[in-house]
Subunit: 126 residues, 2 copies
DNA sequence: CCGTATCCGTAAGGATACTG
DNA sequence: CAGTATCCTTACGGATACGG
């Protein structure tokens, strides 16, 4: 399942090894902003509609990487809570600026692909 | 090729729509730190060994999103230079903290516990 | 409620050859 | 040098059904 093929010599590459894929950033973001969550809560909170399969898979990998902590209450009905480790909290903070950039330019991004290709040099409507 | 299926309501999701995939962050990082590059230079500078096909594909998408600017000198032999737009520069700055996180914790990510990591010269300084 | 287990389609991405 | 054009393989990720 998980094959960390090689070692990383570049910081960004290492970060991407941990946060790669479609969902990890978004999961991280929920836990970073909304704190500890149960499995079902987390599933509903992640934007885009993640499947149970993907959520549990990504959580396992994040746990292996020391980003996420899993607490199983071993009860019936089951109750499991996920939260960030200190390392995960740091990583969450590191993504804050990325989120801000997206928020700031979201209108432009949402319209980028339909627009005609010719954009006047140097001009960036905002 | 590019199908931006929907609009994004979350800043992080919007950012990921632009920077998603395996290579875009790394391309962005090169242009952000090393400035304008020719096609071949860029290809050699991106860590991990990107193919020509992927590089040109990602560059086109980044150009459509207003992140990268392409300058064609229309000469023989061909000379094309890629650089970041103001929007791209901003985005590059937003990824800096992510790179720092990776650099800081690279030992742990690489598998922890073992030998120290020798950072090869020529990759991203940090 | 919190997962596991399969099946399966798509597309991301690599390899190679070719062009102006 | 800077791309195009194909072919091909993998794995990402969705859908569904089932289990403790």
């Amino acid at each position: 399942m998980r094959k960390r093929k090689r070692t990383y010599s570049c910081g960004l590459e290492a970060s991407l090894a941990v946060t790669g894929g479609r969902w990890k950033f978004l999961i991280l973001w929920v836990l970073s902003n909304q704190g500890t969550k149960r499995f079902g809560e987390l599933r509903r909170a992640v934007v885009g509609g993640i499947s149970e399969k993907m959520l549990i898979q990504e959580l396992k990998e994040l746990e292996l990487d020391g980003i996420v902590e899993r607490k199983d209450f071993k009860r019936v009905p089951p109750r499991v809570e996920y939260s960030l480790t200190p390392l995960g909290i740091e990583l969450g903070e590191a993504t804050a600026s990325l989120c801000e950039w997206g928020t700031k330019h979201i209108d432009r991004i949402n319209g980028a692909s339909q627009k005609s290709v010719s954009v006047e040099p140097g001009v960036f409507p905002q």
